[in-house]
């Protein structure tokens, strides 16, 4: 007995949660295994298997079940969840469309009914083709967005693997099929067909065939627009989106590698802040001051001093030693040295003062000084010397 369509739709509506779960299982595994079916029915505490078979929802395959294609497609459509077709599967339409088109051209003046049937078949093939492309694009967008939002928090390596998979097996080949600039693309084939049909719809003798050509032409124009749109989605949205995932993962790989040993890696970047760069104000004034020293050059004349070897002062150690010995014991050696030099010369020259100081190292004298006592200052021509008070007496004698 034939079931009322409304009853079937009510049944699908009432048990939609179970139906959806069965659909998901088949989408994933290609069929519904007996144990999966029992688990789902047990979970919902429901026994609708007989109804599913009665309404021809299920086809039994050995112990397992398969959702019949018309129900499956219907569910795919209302759920917008499509199993992606491999581009080579989509490409088969190219052969069927090309073959039908060839037969239309060859049989254009032959049997009218066959021609009408072929036009109708071509129409159906083109429609199936565009639907397949649209389903794939929708599925690819969903997959890509899921990858991008990463709700499941999948590992970045897995993300790259998935992105690469979608690009290599689906997006790029699909793009080739749709690429207008590609000579063998289906899109180009459809353009050729629409040009031919365009002429026929205007000049074909038979009116019914003309109407069919007109219908097919309108459909082809619309299809071309649709395919162009799908191609644009692929080129403008999907490829950049998925490329970004790839690029993002490449960057992350770089960071992870870098962070393993950041101090040993080269980072050839921005220069250090140069505090004394030639354009800061201080540098300008400093440079100006420096340069200005050389702005006015006074002539400087250098004359060789007229000194002969005999003019050079030579330390007569013996002479001063005798003088020192006469004065012993002496309360302050440096004072004596200062007075002695000043008695002979106008100023005390450092060199002469140091020469006289060497007398302190003579063997037959004894030195004595208080390190805590104040020091006295002797002014020489070049410097002020702070020296201690050193008492001197003959060695061994008081």
């Amino acid at each position: 007995m034939r079931t009322e369509p409304r009853t079937i739709l009510n049944f699908l509506s009432n048990y939609f949660d179970i139906i959806k779960e069965l659909f998901d299982v088949q989408l994933k595994d290609g069929l519904v295994r007996k144990e999966d079916l029992n688990a789902i029915l047990a979970e919902h505490d429901s026994d609708i298997l007989n109804k599913l078979i009665e309404y021809k929802f299920f086809k039994k395959i050995a112990d397992d079940y398969e959702i019949r294609p018309m129900y499956f497609k219907f569910l795919e459509f209302i759920l917008s969840e499509f199993k992606p077709l491999l581009p080579e599967t989509i490409e088969k339409y190219e052969h069927s469309i090309t073959s039908l088109f060839k037969k239309i051209k060859e049989g254009i003046n032959k049997d009218r009914n066959i021609l009408l049937q072929r036009i109708s078949d071509l129409n159906n093939e083109v429609r199936d083709f565009t639907e397949a492309v649209e389903k794939n694009t929708l599925r690819l967008i969903a997959e890509t967005k899921e990858l991008k939002s990463n709700v499941d928090k999948i590992d970045y390596r897995e993300k790259v693997r998935k992105a690469s998979f979608w690009i290599d097996y689906y997006i790029t080949p699909l793009n080739t099929i749709l690429d207008v600039s590609h000579a063998n693309s289906i899109t180009n084939r459809l353009l050729d067909i629409s040009q031919y049909i365009n002429i026929r719809r205007l000049n074909f003798d038979d009116e019914l065939a003309r109407q069919q050509f007109e219908k097919l032409y309108t459909f082809l124009v619309q299809t071309n627009d649709d395919l162009l749109r799908q191609s644009k989605i692929l080129t403008n949205e999907l490829l950049p989106l998925i490329e970004r995932i790839r690029s993002e993962s490449m960057i992350l790989t770089g960071w992870i590698e870098f962070l393993k040993n950041p101090n040993k890696s080269e980072t050839p970047f921005i220069p250090k802040s140069l505090r004394a760069y030639p354009y800061n104000n201080a540098m300008y004034f400093n440079s100006l001051e420096y340069v200005q020293q050389y702005m006015q050059n006074d002539d400087v004349y250098l004359e060789d001093p007229n000194l002969s070897a005999s003019d050079k002062w030579i330390f007569n150690k013996e002479f001063y030693r005798e003088q020192l010995m006469k004065e012993l014991p002496m309360p302050n050696f440096f004072e004596w040295a200062g007075i002695t030099l000043r008695g002979e010369y106008e100023d005390i020259e450092t060199e002469k003062f140091f020469s006289l100081s060497t007398l302190l190292f003579e063997d037959d004298i004894e030195l004595e000084f208080d390190p805590t006592a104040d020091r006295q200052v002797i002014r020489t021509t070049e410097m002020n010397l702070r020296v201690p008070k050193i008492k001197i007496k003959r060695h061994g004698l008081s």
Partner: protein, 180 residues
């Protein structure tokens, strides 16, 4: 000799290690005189001027420069931690507003504890605050308030670095495998 407009500021900013952004009036002047400035920095300081579509900066051959390294570590850690949270770090860094508390939270809970604790710029909240100040002065981030900031397009330099680093590593790994 006539110098381009903003010459002093352009040279000053770049030598201070700042990025000049496309939103800055100086950028157009720099771009219009790209040849002159390219030669100027090369001949005078041995620096390379890189002008991209939305920022310009000087590149030094001093590869052990510590601040660059610290910035790389900071951005690298940020990307890693954002990814760990399941976020698209590129989108986050390009569009999102960060605040210092969030940065503290990410770094304090990071698994790179040793790296962070041994880095004077990143070891604690106070150091990070100073560090963010430096990034702000160099136009790598843009402070929206005391605690909130966004990244400027200058972040791309560091992403390119990471990408090239990965390529280098992958190439090395490939060579090693070939040798085995």
């Amino acid at each position: 000799m006539d110098f381009p407009r903003y010459h002093k500021e352009i040279v000053g900013d770049l030598l201070d290690g700042k990025f000049i952004l496309a939103t800055d009036a100086k950028f157009i002047e720099l771009k219009n005189n790209a040849d002159f400035y390219g030669k100027f920095f090369k001949e005078t300081f041995e620096f390379y001027l890189d002008i991209k579509s939305d920022y310009a900066y000087l590149i030094s051959e001093e590869t052990m420069e510590m601040l660059s390294r610290d910035i790389c570590i900071f951005i690298g850690l940020l990307c890693y931690e954002l990814d760990k949270e399941g976020k698209n770090f590129l989108d986050e860094i390009q569009y999102a507003e960060f605040d210092s508390e969030m940065i503290d939270n990410l770094l304090d809970n990071s698994s790179y504890t040793d790296l962070i604790m041994n880095n004077n710029q990143l070891k604690n909240s106070e150091a990070r605050k100073q560090f963010l100040g430096t990034l702000n002065r160099r136009n790598i981030i843009d402070r929206n308030s005391d605690k909130k900031f966004t990244f400027t397009p200058a972040y791309k330099v560091f992403m390119d670095f990471a990408k090239n680093f990965a390529k280098g590593k992958l190439a090395t790994a490939g060579t090693e495998e070939d040798n085995e």
